[in-house]
């Protein structure tokens, strides 16, 4: 019997099996941010074990609330900063060089096919886009990861998702993953890895694959995984060119992590994506998904473009293409947060920031901020936000607020119209 990608990674990283079914894995990456790491640091100090297993395998960033907004967030940032210095963690990203963790760390080339990674953040599943096993964990798992470089897992089952057909004009990875979550339900993939296959994912860029894998957790999934291919190699090439004599050689090395054709899956789901239209969430759960057309006309107060789901350069390009030459409705506050400084600079160079500002958007520094209602765009009670983020839970962006999840192009069209709108119909809608 062949193996899935996750099974191959588990076998190659197995440190211990203390009980049947419990696998303790060696970690290639322990990723840290300032919300969930400081309490782990404080606990290690209290236990008189303020050590790190390997400062080169630990990467840290201040991203959730940055620059600090008050004394408490300043203390969290300081705890992470002091700890990174104390332990010579050289890959630490502070104000000015920091960005949203799941956009920044891939951009720096830290994640490779076959890697194991944990982070005290549920959207760590994003990094599976590189053919890695990456899982969100709590602070205690993170603490043990920092100290010992290991993490315990139940070996996950794998759900194979075959995405066939091709994406229609203006339909993107966000629409696909919203649709898939709608089909699976919010706990349809609990304790499972989602392994994405098929021509639709093969045609996707790494940015799009990260969007796809980012929301695996919204179906309860441990990790979303794409198969490493030449697109993966091309993205990583600047970081690996000294390790391999050619791209083909790198691809050969990475292919060992691809699932075997006779691998055993707990479920195989086939979705023909050809007829898919832009998707949006309603209500307070990410599996409450319907076509944008069915929600068209719903008024919104705020439009938020950014986050670890959709704050990358391609996302900003798609939104800017809709906004070009238009202005957003008077009744809407538009906020865009490029996910990293490099994305911000690229968007500046391409004139995208100009387009956003001309349209009436507020451009913020890279941060998680509004997505979880911490800063830079918290909703008031009764307000509605069209957002490119990943969670629409009650209270997520502010108590009493409602969040509709959608793609960057849909969000941009919604900003222009002031109401939820299928961006493919913006011309006919005759709004500014």
């Amino acid at each position: 019997m062949g193996q899935t990608t996750a099974e191959k990674i588990f076998a190659a990283h197995l440190r211990d099996e203390p009980f049947p079914g419990t696998k303790v894995l060696d970690l290639d990456r322990v990723l840290c941010h300032e919300i969930t790491t400081p309490i782990a640091i404080a606990d290690l100090q209290w236990r008189n074990k303020d050590r790190v297993f390997d400062p080169d395998k630990i990467k840290a960033v201040i991203d959730h609330v940055t620059p600090s907004k008050d004394s408490k967030t300043a203390l969290q940032a300081k705890m992470l900063r002091d700890w990174a210095r104390r332990h010579h963690i050289k890959d630490f990203f502070d104000v000015g060089r920091n960005g949203v963790c799941h956009a920044l760390f891939p951009e720096k080339g830290y994640i490779r096919p076959g890697f194991t990674a944990i982070m005290g953040d549920s959207h760590t599943c994003t990094h599976g886009a590189f053919g890695a096993f990456a899982a969100g964990v709590g602070t205690t798992d993170l603490e043990v990861g920092i100290l010992k470089g290991v993490c315990a897992f139940r070996e996950p089952n794998t759900i194979r998702i075959n995405l066939t057909g091709s994406l229609g004009q203006g339909v993107v990875a966000k629409d696909v993953i919203l649709f898939v979550i709608g089909q699976l339900g919010v706990n349809g993939a609990t304790d499972c890895v989602l392994e994405f296959h098929g021509p639709v994912v093969e045609a996707m860029s790494m940015d799009a694959r990260m969007t796809l894998c980012n929301m695996a957790i919204e179906a309860g999934g441990t990790c979303g995984i794409c198969q490493p291919d030449m697109t993966t190699v091309a993205y990583l090439w600047p970081f690996i060119e000294k390790e391999f004599s050619s791209r083909e050689e790198a691809l050969d090395a990475f292919r060992r992590w691809c699932a075997d054709s006779d691998a055993d899956y707990c479920q195989v789901l086939d979705f023909d994506i050809s007829g898919l239209t832009p998707q949006v969430t309603y209500d307070y759960k990410p599996d409450c998904v319907k076509p944008v057309a069915e929600m068209a006309g719903t008024p919104v107060d705020q439009v938020y473009i950014g986050t670890c789901t959709n704050g990358r350069i391609e996302d900003l390009r798609q939104a800017a293409a809709v906004l070009q030459g238009r202005t957003i409705a008077d009744t809407v506050r538009g906020i865009v947060s490029p996910a990293t400084p490099d994305i911000f600079k690229q968007a500046l160079a391409e004139g995208i920031i100009q387009t956003f500002m001309d349209a009436g958007f507020c451009v913020t520094n890279p941060t998680c901020g509004a997505c979880l209602g911490m800063s830079n765009g918290v909703l008031a009670e009764g307000e509605v936000c069209a957002s490119t983020s990943n969670r629409n839970f009650s209270g997520r962006m502010g108590k009493g607020g409602m969040v509709h999840l959608m793609s960057p192009a849909t969000a941009a069209a919604t900003a222009v119209a002031g109401v939820i709108l299928d961006h493919r119909t913006l011309e006919e809608a005759k709004v500014s």
Partner: protein, 178 residues
Amino acid sequence: MKKTFGGPVITLDRADINTDEIIPAKYLTEATKEALKPYCLEDLILEGFDPNGEKLANARVIVSRANFGCGSSREHAPWVLEVNGIHTVIAESYARIFRQNMFNCGMLAIELAKDEIDQLMELEKASGGAMDISVDLNEKTITAAGSAGEKSFTFQISPFDQALVEAGGWVEYADARY
């Protein structure tokens, strides 16, 4: 150190209770577990539930439905339960990260079948909302008792999760072993 389990019950009769509802993100800037104490389940909107009420203040056990603890990985969710004396959650199922966080903290996330949770919910109602649950970790049984009667159920937890509960958490266990 091993924790104590069982006591007065509060029922939360809805599936998919997420960690934003258990502890809203705006409190994640607190640097100690103790500071989270007043905010337990603050954003949960559920008929008959009052986050500031005596029922929650006195509760030591939560009984709930499927996919409890979904969403954010924040361990602040089990912590806010812990500092409020709630060391036991009994539900139909859990989100993976929340479940592991509970055991990593040496706390119990017990799974029972839907009809068993139904029976616990009914007994609590029939007992006028006053029900206690005791937990026997050796026999793997829980016993619910109220004025309307008594119900016992057996449960399973993995040997690893049991070892974490016995050790008082994953840091203690891992530090002794790796």
